[in-house]
């Protein structure tokens, strides 16, 4: 499932693309974002090469419109601290209520207590032990269920034997292979183990009000959690365990209503997992995209000693334009490079600017001038454009009739 890119040409080509700019490590958020616009070759190449799109956009003079308020950051940190306070007292309460976690299961391991360079190995050791001890004798009802059973939420039965392997693992350091590179995921989740079954606990500070939360925030959380589920499954598989020991139901912890009190909800991330697998597979086929590009093409920012880009902006901009972007207004909320690509679309007079739906309605007509020419009758339809031309002319006739 990991990016099985052969060492060699494509990897080298991607390194050339990145040049001397330090690679931007993929975090869970970035990996989850791979699915936002898979049809965009420019984005696929930049992500595959580990290029810092944010830095590139700033250097090009099109800084991304994203930013997080310090209030939101403080709130997020405070909420996470609250959930994990006093030996995860709140979290244990919720897991007991939601999943029937037995009273005895309270063992807590904070992977961050070991040095940074040891965390991944330490995580592996802990998970391996948990999988061996916890899984012993306890049949995993979920194993294999993913393929055969309809969606269902399962709860742990009470009275299971106390495992010695631990229950909560805070800050586990997981990894995934992406386009030939290992990406370490920032460890801001808790993994939770019971009877040899693992779950990812994702703590988010958006509110759940009367049982409902902002659907796009939940979707973003689900996509990120899916990255951790996949990474944990990969780790188990590498350790020789059944990857399906990791549940596809993640525990989403959010503040309830208008207070700080946390509430846990199970979120089924099977669809997000399927999408993620698809996108990671695609990353292994970047050679197709690379084939069409000149060998020496690079998106290098040429940073100086202080990390400041020195590459002439026009040169970088030209290099980027050698790759095809697929701009859509949705990019404005997902991609660092959105303003650059929007500007490009404006210069080209592309109907993409108006949204995917307009673009689809216009059939094969990609440019604004062309569409208007067909509507005015000042341009003869090319082959295959007869119908859209007829529709546009009709629409134009109606607009004129109603507006004069």
């Amino acid at each position: 499932m990991t990016g099985l890119m052969r060492e060699g040409d494509p990897v080298r080509r991607l390194e050339v693309l990145r040049g001397t700019t330090p690679p931007r490590p993929h975090d869970a958020r970035a990996i989850a974002a791979l699915a936002a616009n898979p049809g965009c070759a420019r984005r696929a190449l930049m992500d595959g090469a580990g290029i810092d799109k944010d830095a590139a956009a700033r250097h090009l003079g099109f800084p991304a419109p994203f930013g997080q308020s310090p209030f939101a950051i403080t709130r997020g940190n405070a909420f996470e601290a609250l959930v994990k306070a006093d030996g995860c007292a709140e979290l244990l309460r919720m897991l007991r209520e939601l999943l029937g976690l037995p009273i005895a299961e309270v063992a807590y391991h904070d992977v961050e207590n070991v040095g940074a360079h040891l965390r991944h190995a330490h995580t592996r050791a802990l998970i391996d032990r948990a999988a061996r001890d916890g899984g012993e004798g306890a049949p995993s009802p979920e194993a294999g269920a993913e393929a055969t059973a309809p969606p269902a939420t399962e709860t742990a039965g009470p009275g299971e034997a106390v495992s010695t392997a631990g229950t909560l693992y805070d800050h586990p350091l997981l990894s995934l292979r992406i386009a030939g590179h290992t990406a370490y995921l920032e460890p801001d989740v808790v993994a939770f183990q019971l009877g040899g079954r693992f779950r990812i606990v994702e703590i988010k500070s958006f509110a759940v009000i009367d049982g409902q939360a902002d659907p796009s925030s939940v979707a973003a959380a689900a996509r990120q959690a899916a990255v951790y589920v996949l990474a944990l499954r990969t780790m188990l598989e590498e350790l020789g365990h059944d990857p399906l020991m990791v549940s596809h139901d993640v525990v989403l912890v959010c503040p309830e209503n208008f207070a700080n009190r946390p509430v846990a909800t199970l979120v089924d991330v099977r669809k997000q997992l399927a999408v993620l697998r698809r996108q990671l597979d695609r990353m292994t086929t970047l050679d197709r995209l690379l084939d069409g590009l000149p060998d020496e093409l690079t998106f290098d920012l040429r940073p100086d000693e202080d990390g400041r880009p020195t590459r002439p902006v026009a040169e970088l901009s030209d290099a980027l334009r050698r790759t095809t972007a697929r701009y859509a207004p949705d990019c404005l909320s997902t991609c660092d490079l959105c303003f650059f690509c929007r500007d490009e679309a404006r210069q080209e007079g592309a109907s993409d600017l108006l949204g995917r739906q307009v673009r689809d309605e216009l059939g094969g007509v990609a440019s604004v001038a062309e569409a208007l020419g067909l509507a005015d009758g000042t341009r003869d339809p090319a082959e295959g454009q007869e119908e859209i031309a007829r529709l546009l002319r009709n629409a134009e006739r109606l607009r004129r009739e109603c507006l004069t």
Binding site: R58, P63, A85, G87, E90, L92, R93, E112, N113, V114
Partner: protein
Amino acid sequence: MGGRGARLYIVDLQIYLDIAKLLENSGTVGTLAAMGDRLDELERRIDGLRAAVRRAMRARDGATARVLRAELRSAERAWDQLVSGEQSPAKREPLPLVTVREQVHQGLRLLGATAQPRLIVAVGDAFFGGTLRSDRLTSLRRDEERSFRSSPFGRPYYLCAALTDRLSAARGLLTLSTWPLERRVVGPLSPRVDFLTCAIAVGGQRGGDERAVRLLIRMARNIPGATDGGLGPPDPERVIAAARAELRVHAERDTHDRAELARRAAAQLDDAARLFGAATLSTITKEKAK
């Protein structure tokens, strides 16, 4: 509405009239026009600086932003002074009668177990009319360690770090040097055991105010059987009984784990490390790098 000086500021468009009134009251009517000009100028300058800072931040130009920010702060101070009549509105915190160190000591003694700064602050609030803030506790442990190293055992007690199963300092867990090692090390079950121990201590404490009730509510919520599900304040006896009941489930193994850890700590660590934790590999490398 606690009525604790809750004030609301409704400012209408004619701020200058408000300011005029303010100035009138302070008997400086004659200089009103000049003041107005000065305010105008300051506001223009503040607006300009704010925009410049935000522009710099968007371009991630930290150095420029810092310089501009300093200028901005001084302009804002000048504006504040002009509007509110000389003295700066920044509140002076009253000097605490008891040192931070002593307050933490008090809190830990009450709790009787290793605890996070958050909980210690909450206990201080609830029972000692607290003036503690958790951000003040961050440097505490390092100060204690420094003091210990310069004159070992020179103080009657030290606030120190709990020790992990690797005998390194546990992140964000404070403990007391006067406690036996078994209480200062933490195994996998110890965070829960210590929480329950703390809940029993809080439940047994009398004389707190509403903040104490809220602390107990918060703790009781997370102990099975500690509340009747109602919203009223929990019965302390019930909380204690429930915490004890759960404690019995974990006690044996936790005691065993901690004894084992304490044995290892005693055998492997020197005096300072027994209090403040063994250096981890990464801290050693860092030290060497220096």
